[in-house]
Symmetry: C2
Subunit: 388 residues, 2 copies
């Protein structure tokens, strides 16, 4: 087991009817800005519940934060925050809204020239260096509701950069699984795939004797495998929805990654497919994952075989055969969620994609992906080609 | 899954060499009281490492906190804290020292007549209502290093009372697995048994569809089953020690209990055996557990069978047979740790114990143990008798 540090101060309020508790958790004298996305919260009753809970508080709203939260939109929200002397942010939405609010929380107290610095200079946001914020989660997937990371896009420059730091944990997050009932099947499938891949990125590396962490990671995956068909069939199944929601949060709240190496090459490559073809983030992961693991099977075979045995019940074959079978089981799992796993199923113009991504990585000087930081752009090119 | 709330702000610093980091985590202007137990930290090098880390700080020490931290001893420490205007406590030890420091942390800021009120009136210690404190864990077992609970004994009145609240989480805890190398086998066996039973008290109840919580609980038990023989054979096995330590912390830091019912009858009954015969806490749990589960098999059989299948690989038989086999496997596990599981193996004067404990419970008005709060003193009497 590697040495590690763990601190996660976010308060989770989980279950039916918890949205009303916002009223008890927010400071009475706060000047609140509630932020949300495209307006689905006005159709599923969440908006109304939040408005009810905010009765008696000083608050206003800012809607329209898009998926892959866009810097230019966030700058408009930042203007409101400064002009109105907002003291507390309330994100009502999925990972994009929450990530956007994390940026705003840091940007509101940033004293430098341009808030873009926070992203471009990869500045760590320390405790107390950001406005306090809370979240009401409406789309289980990214885990942003209980971690301190955020990814922001900027259309103008084609950049997608991340930020984080101990000052960016939500003060509290409301996780009410009844919101899952109104999520379209496509989004649920994306959420399962996103969370499942988050776990694998922290798990399919090399063994370091972290017996408990391995078991915890397998627990999240076993649970997702069990609830995915139920929730796809009936998103109003509360038990399945609750487990789905809690799995997504636990998949990326920092617990699974402590004491073990991390990979994250699938995310790095996947981001480029979103940039080029606007493919949903989770779907890019499903495309890249089988290629990445097959290409790097020798380095990852112990963990792949263990995953195959414990999560998919693969008990026969050599370690390489078990590893290969585990990859096949993973791809089939994504396919059962109606997620195509080949690039050609998303676009006819896939030729040249691998070379283009490799070239982009070379330009940026990103030549060291994976848990061993040994994957070069030429390796990425081969991996992407495997997934046409 | 039941509704739940979760917040755990303790910062964990885990691994080799982490004791030195105390210096970075403590406020420079703190007036520190370091507290410890019987002095084993002076033999295993921990005391020296802590003293080194405290160089340049204003600090003093208070040793001699006994197992089952005794109120009268803690009052002496409280006197020092008040006289010396201490602002920060540092617990260096196992669960008893840490529990004692939690009491002191609350008592130092308590403004009522007698600090015993905090325990007797079961007062909840809110955030900010206690002195900040940190811990250096030297004995994995109780999980006190990452939770906000404490149990204090008072010899004078024969009481053993608990306290807690959100103000009683350690600010940070240092978990260095190298300390395990010098722990006597008896204490390691106790630690494994204590942590294992903590998990079972939160798990062997009735199913509520908390799929992920069940898997997490099983993960801790599977890991303990795997590392226990290794750590018993060689406590200097770092990998085994690290997993043992992290399992003990995760067994009772609040994660496993969220969204599920809890039992805790084994602890309630076991405490009485400690009070009567001074049997080590963990060993009282090992004595009572098989009786409690056998007596309540009908109510607990689903979870017992699931535990048997997933942790012990029991795949044949009816649900009742699997449940019974799981109990037998658990007792055999404790026995393999050289922990006797019958009262007569600890004392010749066991006759009458069951009646005496039942009478004690009746006197106190404690007539509702277990997850259904339906176990009466007469049930407890039968359970204890089963374990002579």
């Amino acid at each position: 087991m590697l040495n590690f540090e763990l601190k996660n101060p976010t308060k989770i309020l989980f279950g039916k009817g918890q949205i009303a508790r916002i009223a008890k958790e927010l400071p009475k004298d706060a000047k609140i800005l509630m932020l949300y996305g495209g307006g689905s919260i006005k159709k599923n009753g969440v908006y109304e519940q939040v408005v009810q809970a905010l009765e008696g508080f000083q608050w206003q709203e800012f809607g329209g934060i898009p998926a892959n939260p866009e810097y230019s939109v966030l700058l408009e929200a930042l203007k409101v925050i400064k002009e109105e002397k907002i003291t507390y942010l309330l994100a009502v939405g999925g990972g994009s809204v929450i990530d956007g609010v994390k940026f705003l929380s840091a940007a509101a107290l940033y004293t430098g020239d341009s808030p873009w610095d926070i992203l471009e200079k990869n500045m760590r946001t320390e405790e107390g260096a950001a406005l306090p914020f809370a979240t009401v989660l409406t789309l289980p997937a990214t885990g942003s509701e209980m971690n301190s990371g955020s990814v922001i896009s900027r259309a103008e420059t084609g950049q997608k950069l991340s930020m984080g730091g101990p000052g960016l944990f939500p003060v509290f997050s409301i996780l009410d699984p009844t919101v899952v009932a109104s999520i379209p099947a496509r989004q649920i499938a994306n959420g399962v795939t996103d969370a499942f891949t988050h776990v694998l990125e922290q798990y399919v590396t090399y063994p370091v004797g972290a017996i408990l962490q391995d078991r915890f990671a397998e627990s999240v995956m076993q649970s997702l495998v069990e609830v995915a068909p139920k929730i796809m069939q009936n998103p109003a199944d509360y038990e399945a929805a609750a487990n789905f929601m809690w799995c997504c949060t636990m998949a990326l709240n920092g617990l699974l990654s402590r004491g073990v190496p991390g990979d994250w090459a699938i995310h790095a490559i996947g981001h480029e497919l979103t940039a080029q073809y606007h493919i949903d983030h989770a779907r890019t992961l499903a495309i890249i994952l089988p290629g990445h693991y097959t290409y790097n099977l020798e380095a990852k075979k112990e963990k792949l075989a263990q995953y195959g045995t414990r999560v998919w019940g693969i008990t026969t074959g050599t370690i390489e055969e078990k590893a290969a079978a585990a990859i096949a089981k993973t791809e089939a799992f994504f396919n059962r969620l109606n997620i195509p796993t080949h690039l050609s199923e998303y676009t006819e113009n896939y030729e040249g994609t691998a070379e283009k991504i490799a070239a982009t990585f070379t330009e940026r000087g990103w030549v060291a992906l994976g848990e061993h930081r040994n994957l070069k752009p030429s390796d990425v090119e081969v991996i992407v080609k495997m997934r046409y």
